[in-house]
């Protein structure tokens, strides 16, 4: 087998200050499943986007069958037989399955109109040929995440690609959906397709792939055969040091109930019920984790607690203060909140660090609230410096724009701001999403320290391993309901995965 695709000396930088790939060379062979692994920010996705033509490398070349090629768009890559399924699924929810599949390569009638009959037939034929279980006329907005991923793959098969790039395909799946995907991928390999598989889940990588390439901080560490390596070795290559795989057992007794939600229900714009009678308690000195496939009510739960959505029924309270219909400001007297999306909800990127640091404090913190009108920007700067010192933020001056900070430092400022509010209840929505390893570790440590200091913490995370290593109890959400609420010590990844997917206990075997 010869090198089918060769990437040579690829270097890619992002203005203003990121070097994403540094002289990376790697080759792929026909008919293999080749995993590319690395931590967040190691450059896996960037490398694949360069190959796919979505990004242009600053230096280096791509060779296909020994001939150098330069893809200037995804179209070029697809024409050459290379297709990519992105980490965030890129489909149009308003369109049906077949419309999504043919978009960009539509069959036409003699008059130049869209030949929807022919398009539908072609899609139906591909679905049958690869044994996918999909309805071509279903609107994509109404099918499951796993089904959407299949549509993405189908889109590429419709274009007759021979290489499929999958960017963290299992990240959006529950543990139970993963084996099915792997089976389909093996079937595709048997059909002669080459599969490039990006992941940071080492068990999956070892199970599925033939060869593994490890990236670390934009550089290639090595390419090894999956059969001749181990999880520990891969982890060492990824992180550059030995890593311990161990959870952190909770050894303490939680105190009084701090946060309580009772029978909380909520509907969306279209009157569709999104939260159904959610009842939940979080005690002082306890971390409760919310697990669930994305879109099963976690978003609505957070929004109801923080006050962006009014509940249709039920009651919320913190330490006995009824917050069901309170204003957001009133809630913030009791709740510290780290939002999922830093740039959309957690900060203003164009404001200075100091201006970001004093949000909420400007009304509730003694230092600022003493004066009725004036806001002392020197005090704000001093406060930002305090956040920097207490939370190890790497920044030069408080009047720097917030966007100049790295993602990890931005999150530290936000976390610091919220923790300095000194509230009994912490609502943390995906607090480590998109952070590098160091910052993730830091945020997790802070959570445990807050727990030990007697705060009640509600942690929403799509990373099950994170929940299992931090939470004392895990509540599983399914279709807007809490279908399980169980001490972490009494459950397993598989069981939680089953609840997430099915909404009920696995039937006894």
């Amino acid at each position: 087998m010869s090198d089918f695709i060769a990437l040579r000396h690829i270097t890619k930088t992002f203005p203003p200050n990121v070097i994403a790939l540094d002289d990376v060379s790697v080759s792929f062979e026909t008919g293999e499943i080749h995993a590319v692994v690395g931590e967040n920010g190691a450059g896996k996705s960037t490398l694949m986007k360069v190959l796919y033509g979505l990004l242009r490398a600053d230096r280096g070349e791509i060779a296909l069958h020994g001939r150098p090629v330069q893809f200037s768009s995804a179209n070029d890559a697809i024409a050459a037989g290379i297709g990519m399924v992105h980490q965030e699924i890129l489909l149009i929810p308003e369109y049906t399955v077949w419309q999504n599949v043919v978009l960009g390569a539509e069959p036409r009638t003699r008059w130049g109109a869209l030949d929807s009959r022919r398009a539908r037939e072609a899609v139906r034929a591909k679905i049958a040929a690869f044994g996918f279980n999909l309805d071509p006329d279903a609107p994509v907005g109404q099918i499951s995440i796993a089904a959407r991923q299949k549509v993405e793959i189908l889109k590429l098969l419709y274009r007759d690609v021979s290489v499929l790039i999958l960017d963290e395909p299992t990240a959006v799946l529950t543990p139970l959906e993963v084996p099915q995907l792997f089976e389909e991928l093996r079937r595709l390999r048997a059909g002669g397709k080459t599969i490039l598989f990006i992941s940071h889940h080492l068990d999956e990588v070892l199970e599925l792939s033939d060869r593994v390439t490890v990236l670390r901080r934009g550089r290639k560490v090595d390419t090894v055969a999956a059969g001749s390596t181990s999880k520990a070795e891969l982890a060492r290559m990824m992180v550059g040091r030995d890593v311990l795989f161990a959870g952190r057992p909770a050894v303490h007794a939680p105190g009084e109930v701090v946060f309580r939600a009772e029978g909380v229900s909520a509907r969306d714009d279209k009157h569709i019920s999104r939260l159904r009678e959610v009842t939940l308690e979080v005690r002082a000195g306890e971390i409760v984790g919310i697990a669930g496939v994305e879109g099963n009510g976690q978003f609505e739960l957070v929004n109801v607690i923080i006050g962006l959505i009014q509940p249709a029924a039920g009651a919320l309270s913190v330490n006995g203060h009824d917050l069901t219909h309170a204003s957001i400001l009133e809630r913030r007297r009791h709740i510290a909140f780290v939002a999922q999306d830093r740039s959309r909800m957690g900060a203003s990127l164009s404001a200075s660090i100091a201006e970001n640091a004093i949000m909420t404090h400007h009304r509730l913190n003694e230092t600022f609230a003493r004066r009725r009108w004036r806001l002392d920007m020197q005090q704000a700067a001093a406060f930002a410096t305090r956040v920097r010192e207490q939370f190890a933020v790497a920044m030069s001056r408080p009047d720097q724009p917030f966007r100049a900070l790295s993602g990890g430092n931005q999150q530290k400022v936000i976390l610091g701001r919220e923790l300095l509010l000194d509230r009994p209840f912490l609502l943390l929505d995906q607090p480590t999403r998109g952070l590098d390893v160091g910052s993730t570790e830091y945020v997790r440590e802070q959570m445990l320290r807050q727990r030990d200091a007697g705060r009640a913490i509600l942690l929403i995370s799509s990373d099950l391993e994170e929940l299992f290593s931090l939470a004392d109890r895990i509540a599983v959400m399914h279709r807007g309901e809490i279908v399980a609420d169980i001490p972490t010590a009494h459950t397993s990844l598989e069981q939680v995965g089953y609840w997430m997917l099915q909404g009920r206990e696995p039937a006894p075997a």
Binding site: A20, S348, L375, G408
Partner: protein, 355 residues
């Protein structure tokens, strides 16, 4: 700060160059034309005084637009709010006669209220029914224009008896703003208003909340800021500034409401805010600059026979060049910063490539 100043000067330079090109194509002498422009707007104290007086409505409507844009509301209603402010000042000035120290503040108050009221209609519709203030303020502009035109039309309820052109009678003398030396008092009022707005916006808690909401409403809302109430207040304040512009124009100039009183300032406020990127300081600067252009334009026509409308084209070119230059310049600076960074100290770069 210095970069921004440099960018602004560069854009103006390029725009003037393009204007010169247009003049050359028409067989004129650009230096002569620009020279006349400067000489007749800034040449001596009297001309400077005229320029500053002409700057009053430009700076105030510019601040009205900048304050709104930087705080969130898309208030494009300066033309209408300007007219309603001018109308309110005229109405009060026609019906009451007090000594000047009482009368002038009273008329200014009326102008502020008139503008705020008209903006308040849009704010209320937004608040109660979630109607986009962007289109509502535009429609209210046309309605205010037609309504005031009807009031002063010959034979209309507010028309001056026997006048040959559409205009109201003159306001009581107490409401007329005189000069200090060569300089009209309305210039002082403008400076005070600009200072007050700048202080509130940059040094107070409400100003902080407005700025944060203007940059990211959801962030401000989750941080506990009463964004809906702030929206309302900013709309009223923005309308009041535009109204004050209209009132001062009546009080400093013709002392009456005449047809087309706001026509020259219709979109100038929004234009200045756009060029200034909604920064208050820059708004004042560009307001003065455009006032100099417009003041010099009339003299330029007399001296060089270049139609004064040339200035409108020049202004539009300045807007386009500086707006486009802003995006280009920041990309350029990013690239330069990267080049400095690519060599040493690669430790921090890991954090990174998720895009």
């Amino acid at each position: 700060m210095r970069q921004k100043l440099f960018a602004a000067l560069a854009s103006i330079g390029i725009a003037l160059g393009m204007g010169a090109l247009i003049l050359l194509l028409e067989g004129r002498q650009p230096f002569e034309v620009y020279g006349a422009l400067v000489a007749l707007s800034l040449g001596d104290a009297d001309k400077l005084a005229v320029t500053l007086k002409n700057a009053v409505p430009l700076v105030l409507t510019g601040l009205s637009a900048s304050l709104a844009f930087a705080s969130g509301p898309v208030n494009l209603g300066q033309p209408g709010q300007f007219l309603m402010g001018a109308l309110a000042a005229t109405l009060v000035g026609l019906s009451i006669d007090l000594p000047a120290p009482l009368m002038a503040p009273l008329l200014m108050g009326a102008a502020l209220a008139g503008g705020a009221l008209w903006a308040g209609v849009a704010a209320l519709l937004r608040h109660a029914f979630n109607m986009s203030e962007f289109i509502v303020t535009l429609m209210l502009n046309s309605i205010a224009d037609l309504f005031t035109a009807w009031l002063i039309t010959i034979g209309g309820p507010l028309a001056e008896a026997g006048a040959l052109s559409p205009r109201s009678p003159a306001i009581a003398s107490g409401g007329r703003l005189g000069d200090i030396g060569a300089f009209n008092i309305s210039i002082v009022v403008m400076a005070l208003a600009a200072g007050a707005i700048g202080y509130v916006f940059h040094r107070t808690r409400p100003g902080y909340e407005w700025r944060m909401a203007g940059q990211n409403t959801l962030f401000a809302r989750l941080g506990g800021c009463p964004v809906n109430r702030n929206f309302f207040i900013v709309m009223l304040l923005s309308g009041a500034l535009a109204g004050l512009a209209g009132g001062l124009l009546v009080m400093a100039g013709p002392y009456r409401f005449i047809r087309g009183i706001g026509a020259n300032y219709a979109w100038d406020g929004v234009m200045i805010a756009v060029v200034a990127n909604s920064a208050l300081g820059a708004t004042v600067g560009y307001g003065l600059f455009f006032a100099a252009l417009q003041t010099g334009a009339l003299g330029m026509e007399l001296l060089t026979a270049v139609p004064s409308e040339f200035i409108q084209v020049l202004q539009a070119v300045i807007v386009l060049v500086s707006v486009a230059g802003r995006g280009y310049l920041s990309a350029l600076l990013d690239r330069l910063a990267l080049r400095r960074l690519t060599r040493p100290s690669l430790d921090t770069r890991a954090d990174t490539a998720r895009r």
